[in-house]
Symmetry: C2
Subunit: 339 residues, 2 copies
């Protein structure tokens, strides 16, 4: 049983995409799960009425599992993320996050400002011991199985110790949310050999050998889409947020670029759509902010109802697998080992 709060006002297509995604998620989830729509009640109620009387009328039976939680303020993309908590303490973002420490909710999902969600999550949920910053994992669809790449943008200058923490965070995420037992962890690098790489990465390689993770050595750029390096399958790839963010945005641009090339060569739109479906980001919906004491799922601003639905399912999975507890235990175990 999980109670997931959803920022009904966040994202380019809010509140429509958020409310529709919530209804669709409840229709798929076990009936014990509930969703709290956080935002301006009149706006949310109007949207719910339109959807449940209209295109989602067949799902109207989920209505009793939807609550509305009032949050009068709305965070705009132009608001400075670091100031939002102070200037708009009653935004849907902050009210939604506060439900967790208040014991009223188990997880939070938003397609609003990523920066504001990071700041709010750290301030309201707090970080696990031993962390200076949270990390954002991205799931890269590959030929074999998806690979988690982290950090993908929350941390631009990283120490070896921080990269090791990312490995632990990513391993718990891969196990709890993606269902990979004893996930194999690789270090993004420019060669296979331990002595390759820049100064930070070389030191990280040494630390990862005794970090309590299933470390499988270096992963090169070409290995990511293979889902493996020469030592076997890889579930998690660790890198600093600068490299991770460049790679992620590059990858997002690959599919449209390829579609252009292929369309010019006469490949049909239908074939392409079917072929590239595995690359659709909305399959994964969102990324949990790892390291905070709670569940905070970050969605793309352009999230469709399907993406929101899948992000809500991810939140439920994170809650049910007790990912948050596992992260806390994993980090404190390594702190004890080090002591």
């Amino acid at each position: 049983m999980a109670r997931i709060a959803l920022d009904a006002m966040g994202g380019d297509f809010a509140p429509r995409a958020a409310v529709a995604g919530a209804v669709q998620a409840l229709a798929e989830l076990e009936p014990t799960h509930t969703i709290q729509l956080v935002g301006q009640p009149d706006v949310i109620e109007r949207e719910l009425a339109v959807l449940l009387d209209g295109e989602l009328a067949a799902l109207a039976h989920v209505r009793p599992r939807l609550d509305v939680v009032e949050a009068p303020d709305v965070v705009e993309m132009s608001d400075k993320p670091s100031a939002v908590l102070r200037t708009k303490p009653n935004s849907s973002m902050m009210v939604g996050l506060r439900l967790q420490p208040e014991g009223r909710s188990d997880g939070f999902v938003s397609a609003g400002s990523t920066g504001a969600q990071m700041v709010g999550s750290v301030m309201i949920l707090k970080l696990h011991d031993g962390l200076k910053r949270p990390a954002i994992p991205t799931v890269f669809p590959t030929a074999r199985h998806a690979v988690v790449v982290l950090d993908s943008g929350a941390n631009v200058d990283c120490s070896p110790e921080e990269l090791v923490q990312f490995a632990r965070l990513g391993a718990v995420y891969a196990e709890d949310v993606l269902g990979r037992p004893n996930p194999a962890v690789g270090l993004l690098n420019i060669g296979e050999e331990p002595e390759k790489g820049n100064a930070v990465v070389k030191e990280t390689y040494q630390l990862l050998q005794h970090a309590g993770v299933n470390f499988r050595g270096n992963v090169e750029g070409r290995d990511i889409l293979r889902g493996r390096n020469d030592h076997g399958d890889i579930d998690v790839t660790v890198c600093d947020g600068f490299t991770g963010n460049v790679l992620l945005k590059f990858y997002e641009a690959v599919a449209p670029f390829m579609v252009g090339l292929l369309r010019s060569a006469g490949v049909s739109a239908e074939q392409l759509e079917r072929a590239l479906e595995p690359l659709d980001y909305s399959t994964h919906g969102g990324a949990p902010l790892l390291g905070v004491r709670g569940v905070s799922i970050i969605c793309h601003g352009k999230s469709s109802p399907r993406a929101i639905k899948n992000a809500l399912r991810m939140a439920v999975q994170a809650v049910e697998s007790k990912m948050n507890d596992h992260i806390g235990r994993r980090l404190s175990a390594s702190a004890e080992d080090a002591a």
Copy 2:
């Protein structure tokens, strides 16, 4: 008129691919250009005889423009790059490079060990003033026009000053070899705004505004394949060799990955081959090692005759455009500005 030395013994498919590429290049190039095949004369002569009596018989008229230069030693991939110059001073790599300071050649092309070629080029050709290390540019095929990304692997830890030098090197390369007048230079970063990025990149942004290059601000991962950022077209994108190498290897893996997805969806092999032809690395053949006082073109170990041919054409273009002089002048002009 350019005299290009070619390492006939380097590369996975040597000497066949090298010799065939040389013959094909001469058939396409103006008749004033000549090629020196560097390596073991008996091996080279035998290969030439086989090709010119056989599949390349129609091109036998280029034979007088081919010289053979003796080099008894052969560099193996297992040789330590930093030691090759000492342990194998008469390898095809080192003999071929020495022809330039001896005034007997204008450029050098090799598909042998990249590490040995870097070390040899720096030791034998020497670096231009003001440089600590050379840089390797990679040409990324994109939707509009190819974008030069550098450094793509020669330098893993880079200072802001080094990134600025890459911008100057890349600009001369784009102008002289790719024919882009006043090339637009971007800085690879994780956002558009000047204040984005890690510490090195933030400082580089400031320096690039007064570096004598046509600086167009930050380039995000998604901009590379568009060939532009929001300020217009981009010809050159600057990054450290760690990020550049990860991105390059990732990109090389994209086409095979996409082909797999598309074949599973029933797209025909012929359509794919035609569609993805622009991504074929052999179109560009090789990358010049930028910063050394001469022309040293690095080719992929798996170079086909076509790739070797195109690398030789690139060498001719670098010689004829006087890229080397332009780099020297560009770097000393900026040193004077700074003084």
